[in-house]
């Protein structure tokens, strides 16, 4: 699963679709994750049945395995190898000498560190914020009695809405022009327009980050709420009745009962969101264009954006050796994501209650 997550799904995003691909991916994974627990329990019986059904399993898994091998595992291995051959030429597939030049160059490139800083902001700010907001909204949604279905639909609409429509709405709200919704408001209170989005050189850093944060919170909200809501509705109501009889304050009910009992869902959402944040690219392109900010600074470049920049260089006639650099950057990102995920899993193994 790890490998699959890190696979460069940016290719999918090349069509200019504004949906961050993480959304489509996570949605496919929901049933899988939820079944994980069952799978573990079934492991033993599965082992016993393996001998009998082994061939059947191999045959039925073969098509999927083949596709994974060709499109996922093979590229990962290639990426790994290419990153250690700084003079790899993708036109004639010649490797040249082995070396770690690509890594040293990437690590000494200020643009790479800008990309990492931006990514870090997404990971450290957007993710916790969006999870907390989603949790609070879910608990509120679950506590209202009347019109609950109505509000659920409202919060779930972004999930079923076309990504382009979603992006357009966002572009209208945060348009850098005077007619943008936020700018109109600013004008109303006597302020001056702010370049929120686009490729202008005048986008204030804080404004860009603000828009990215809002965008990613809003974008992932529906799915998170859906997962949390289904988790909440699975919690026995008697825990809450017991808490009420023992005069538990509301906040304590939330922190001592709801959050711990939701912890498997919270872990799942945290991991998928973290990985999604590490991979964020298409949302940046949607907001700030292909150059991810103005074309000199690339103010809002992300880690995946950085990989793409070099990959793009190759395909658009730049130096062919740039592919090795892109691969090195991809490998560094891979290692980062892996470390974070393991730390996360380890930390949660102490706190999550299944």
């Amino acid at each position: 699963m790890q490998d699959k997550e890190i696979n460069f799904d940016c290719k999918v995003d090349f069509d200019g679709n504004l949906v961050t691909s993480k959304e489509t991916k996570t949605s496919k994974k929901t049933p899988k994750k939820i079944n994980d627990k069952k799978k573990k329990q079934n492991n033993k019986t599965a082992m016993l049945e393996w001998k009998k059904d082994g061939w059947k399993a191999v045959i039925s898994l073969a098509p999927a395995l083949l596709i994974l091998l060709v499109f996922t595992f093979y590229p990962i291995v290639r990426t790994f190898i290419i990153s250690f051959f700084p003079h790899y030429n993708y036109l004639d597939d010649s490797f040249g000498a082995f070396g770690v030049d690509s890594f040293t160059r990437v690590l000494s490139d200020p643009l790479f560190w800008r990309a990492m800083a931006n990514t870090a902001i997404m990971v450290l700010v957007s993710v916790p914020l969006s999870i907390i907001i989603a949790l609070l909204i879910t608990v509120l949604l679950n506590s209202i009695k009347r019109l609950q279905g109505f509000f659920q639909v409202i919060f779930f609409l972004p999930y079923v809405t076309n990504g382009i429509a979603f992006g357009l709405v966002f572009a209208t709200i945060f348009s850098p022009m005077d007619y943008g919704l936020i700018n109109t408001l600013i004008h109303f209170f006597g302020g001056k327009s702010i370049a929120w989005t686009g490729t202008a050189e005048t986008i204030p850093y804080w404004a860009g980050i603000f828009v990215i944060t809002i965008y990613s919170i809003w974008n992932g909200l529906a799915f998170k709420i859906l997962v949390f809501l289904s988790g909440l509705q699975g919690i026995d109501k008697q825990y809450y009745q017991a808490a009420q009889i023992d005069s538990t304050p509301k906040w304590r009910v939330f922190t001592k009962i709801t959050v711990p009992l939701l912890s498997p869902m919270i872990l799942y959402i945290t991991i998928t969101s973290l990985i999604g944040a590490f991979k964020s690219y298409s949302s940046i392109v949607a907001l700030f264009g292909e150059s991810m900010g103005n074309s000199q600074d690339r103010t809002f470049i992300t880690a995946v954006g950085y990989i793409y920049r070099y990959f793009n260089d190759v395909t658009s006639g730049g130096s062919v050796t740039m592919l090795s650099r892109a691969s090195a950057a991809a490998l560094i990102l891979f290692v980062f994501i892996m470390i974070i995920t393991f730390v996360q899993m380890w930390a949660n193994s102490k706190k999550v209650h299944y």
Partner: protein, 353 residues
């Protein structure tokens, strides 16, 4: 504290129509007593309990704790302890944390809370399980934790909703003694819901027999057993259950199908009136000069006693009698019996004698 229910009523509105789960019940539970709320499944026991707890709002009627009317109070203001049917222990907290939870809500200092928790854990006999999670406990142990959690805030009233129904037969016997002991030791007014008549009879100071949301009879277990107010109560209490024989008044005599019912009945009957005669298995006595001849179908040994399955001539339903096991009775034979007691009910089930 004395608990008094006055005309307490609960109507659930559903799409299919209203359900009257509890129908104008009046019960007074004396201070410091253990009262068993007894009735078949779905008769409104839990609903009554939840109204006392404040989790359900009564549709009508009042609840008094002592002199205070608490009907409008939310659960947290009532000072009760409730043990749920499946305990509702917080799965992510240890036994200690579960028991301390209600105290922490009251912002009791940690040290004091811990001491209290330990005291009640010892009372229910789980002081060596304090660091386990509920998932690592047996049903009986979980149940004790739940009781400790309910008792630790030293409630005025303790409510137990079928607390033994998840336990196996042996543990159930043992635990019900335990509940009785704990209740005696703490002197807390306790309401105990169960559908198991034996359970209710064995530990309650008083039982309240309910059916379809209506209270049929309230009294000491033995009194209710000996003098049931109607056929429902008579049938609900006792194992094996009471035998009910349909009868009819013909020529001013009570007829049991072919046989005549040869007991003195000092009641004026209407000619043709239909009756039900209730005979507990232990009311049957084998007697060579008995008034009734019956056909024995089967004899079962049940330890100290022997149970006899028999038919009255012409009667369809099988009756059961309990006799001492040293009496010789052959299956498939005709014997004579007497009744040393009987209950007479009218067609609607109202007790006549």
């Amino acid at each position: 504290m004395e608990v008094k229910l006055v005309n307490l009523t609960k109507i659930f509105s559903k799409k299919e129509g209203d359900v009257c789960a509890v129908d104008h019940i009046n019960i007074t539970i004396p201070n410091g007593k253990l009262v068993g709320l007894l009735g078949p499944s779905g008769c409104g026991k839990s609903t009554t309990l939840y109204m006392i707890a404040g989790l359900h709002r009564p549709s009508d009627g009042q609840i008094f704790f002592g002199e205070t009317e608490v009907s409008k109070y939310p659960p947290e203001k009532r000072g009760i302890g409730l043990v749920f049917q499946n305990y509702a222990l917080y799965p992510h907290l240890t036994v200690k944390e579960n028991i301390m939870f209600p105290l922490e809500n009251k912002k009791m200092p940690k040290k004091e809370a811990l001491e209290k928790a330990q005291k009640y854990a010892a009372l229910v006999g789980i002081e060596n399980l304090m660091d386990r999670k509920p998932g690592q406990l047996s049903g009986g142990q979980q149940q004790r934790v739940a009781i400790a959690r309910a008792l630790v805030k030293e409630p005025e009233v303790l409510l137990l909703d079928e607390p033994l129904s998840n336990l196996d037969a042996r543990l159930r016997l043992q635990t019900r003694e335990e509940i009785k002991r704990i209740q005696k030791n703490t002197g807390v007014t306790t309401i105990f819901v169960t559908h198991d008549q034996e359970e209710a009879m064995s530990i309650s100071d008083e039982i309240v027999v309910m059916n379809f949301g209506v209270v049929h009879q309230i009294g000491k277990p033995q009194d209710v057993y000996n003098e049931p107010i109607d056929m429902f109560v008579a049938k609900f209490l006792g194992t094996p259950p009471i035998n009910i024989l349909p009868a009819k008044v013909v020529n001013s005599k009570i007829k049991l199908f072919d046989d005549e019912f040869k007991e003195d009945v000092k009641i004026d009957f209407v000619e043709g009136q239909e009756l039900n005669i209730g005979i507990r298995p232990e009311f049957v006595q084998i007697d060579e000069n008995g008034k009734y001849e019956i056909h024995v179908e089967m004899v079962e040994y049940i330890g100290r006693d022997k149970s006899i399955l028999f038919h009255f001539k012409g009667q369809e339903s099988t009756c059961k009698a309990i006799v001492p096991s040293n009496l010789m009775v052959e299956p498939d034979s005709d014997i004579k019996i007497n009744f040393n007691r009987f209950f007479l009910f009218d067609k609607e089930g109202k007790r006549l004698v």
